[in-house]
Amino acid sequence: MSRLDLNAVLDWVPEGSTVLDLGCGDGAFLQRLRNERSVTGVGVDIDAGNLVTAVNKGLDVIQEDINDGLHCFTTNRFDVVVLAHALQELTDPHIALQRMVDIGEEAIVSFPNFGHWACRLHLGFKGRMPMSKAMPRHWYDTPNIHFCTVEDFEALCSELRIDIIARATVSGFAQGLLGKYWPNLFATSAVYRICRARP
């Protein structure tokens, strides 16, 4: 999955902040945050091969399964917790979201929007689970086990008492404005800036 949709949200990460990047992969995004926003970062990934590449970039990374609950991080340990395009791969996305807004003052989360019109057409007309360039796997071998739509996600946030501070959407070339106003239908993926609901 491309993490390019995070370019738009670089501004959401305050200069000099502490960042936890969940599912950091080869560390490219964390490296960018370090270079462009002077953050102090920690990356988490389950794959040792990814860790080696991230370590090569001079990053501090730890091998851990996000599904195990991230208990190694204390409350409010980080300014920002990032989960880029991995929400749909988690066993319990709702638990992970709650942990993220506990560990971080804020969290940034992105996911592919299953409510996109192309997905709907695929399912509606072909009657088969959608596959695309961004989602190239079959339903049975995809790591994406918990797809949601933009509206699903926002409903879950409300249920979990998580505030949405900002939303950015990524759409096809010609659909920028449509994605902005009708994200559930036109955004291919969505990025949210969230935090615990303030009492």
Binding site: A48, L51, V52, I62, Q63, R77
Partner: protein, 381 residues
């Protein structure tokens, strides 16, 4: 003969001896009036003396970590895999020091050394060292070498614990710390295995209350048995199945065959035990296993590992090995999680391997790459 040495070897190395005249007081109260440490160095100390790396050896390790003592040597130092030009601990950039711990039997003052004022070796009267004593004695060695700060302190198993102790006891001295297959302290099971090893030695009639040298005996059977038990805990069940299976080295499974069966694994363990018993001193083995038992990083900090590690100023690399059941991955996670809670920079990986506890000494692509990539941040850039 020299051309037979591999290009990425540190080559022929000669151990050096440092003599310290001032008295050394052990944490447990024993005193040495003067002592010696044997050590090896690889690479060159730079003018700023900021490229020095300390390697801490494990239970039965020595100062001979890399290279060969003679071109005819069959085996290089115990961690030659990791130390050398272009290797993870790159001797083209780094000045590598490895010393034999105080109380060992490979040249540093220990139970085999003559006790001053007597005509006998120390034997069983040698003071019990602890990991923190070794750290203090290595600090003396560093000062002797003109080093004021280690770019990194690195070790596996007991050596990893020693590296952690360094980072906690002398925070100003340790810029990076690598703890491989280590633990923050020993469990009851760990201590139990050590006790079996000690019991094997102490119940050998040739032990003579630790005074065997004066009696001209060697408790070789006890040491061999201790090593067999120890060695078993370094390997994983799957690794042993792959390597030995149920293969016979002698005898046959055929009906009515003789009853002199020797399984491959038996033969291997016997060989390891016997070889070790001719090389390693019994008193030292007793002292080393006891030092392990006594190791508890959190002890001086109210049992709080986070408080202990909060003192450190180092960046850490913590590595565990999936099939290690002597110091299993969850022990490394205790270290990692305490470091995270103390907000210390830490990289952690659990290496998939069937090599058990010995994994930290054996070739493994991911492990070697990780160590190599992480070590790039050590030393002057």
């Amino acid at each position: 003969m020299a051309p037979t040495l591999p290009a990425d070897s540190v080559g022929i190395v000669t151990p050096k001896l440092a003599r310290f005249e001032e008295s050394f007081r052990f944490a447990n109260g024993g005193i040495l009036e003067g002592h010696e440490l044997v050590y090896e160095t690889y690479g060159e100390l730079n003018a700023a003396a900021d490229n020095a790396v300390l390697i801490c050896h494990a239970l039965s390790g020595t100062h001979h970590a890399a290279g060969f003592h003679a071109a005819a040597d069959k085996r290089p130092g115990w961690w030659d895999m990791a130390i050398g030009p272009g290797k993870p601990i790159d001797t083209e950039r780094l000045f590598v020091v490895c010393s034999n711990n105080l109380g060992c039997c490979d040249g540093s003052t220990g139970p085999n050394t003559m006790q001053p004022g007597t005509d006998k070796p120390w034997g069983g009267l040698f003071p019990q060292p602890q990991v923190r004593d070794w750290v203090r004695s290595q600090k003396q060695l560093a000062e002797h070498l003109g080093i004021a700060r280690w770019a990194a302190v690195i070790g596996g198993s007991l050596g990893g614990m020693q590296a952690l102790q360094w980072a906690v006891d002398f925070p100003d001295w340790v810029e990076h710390c690598v703890a491989l297959a280590a633990a923050p302290g020993l469990t009851a099971q760990n201590i139990a295995f050590n006790e079996i090893a000690r019991h094997a030695i102490l119940s050998d009639p040739d032990w003579r209350d630790g005074d065997y040298l004066a009696h001209g005996t060697v408790p070789a059977r006890g040491v061999a048995l201790a090593r067999m038990v120890g060695h078993l805990t370094y390997m994983s069940a799957d690794g042993m199945s792959d390597r030995f299976g149920r293969e016979l080295r002698e005898g046959s499974f055929a009906p009515e065959s003789n009853n002199e069966w020797v399984f491959q694994v038996e033969s291997y363990l016997r060989h390891q035990g016997t070889r070790f018993s001719t090389q390693f001193d019994a008193n030292t083995y007793v002292l080393m296993t006891r030092a392990l038992d006594l190791f508890d990083l959190a002890q001086d900090h109210g049992g709080d590992l986070v408080a202990a590690l909060s003192r450190s100023q180092a960046s850490f690399l913590v590595v565990s090995f999936s099939s290690d059941w002597r110091f299993p991955p969850h022990r490394s996670l205790e270290i990692r999680d305490a470091l995270l809670a103390a907000e210390k920079p830490v990289t952690y990986a659990n290496i998939e391997t069937d090599d058990g506890h010995d994994g930290f000494l054996l070739p493994n692509k991911t492990y070697e790459q990780l160590l190599k990539e992480w070590m790039r941040r050590v030393g002057p850039s």
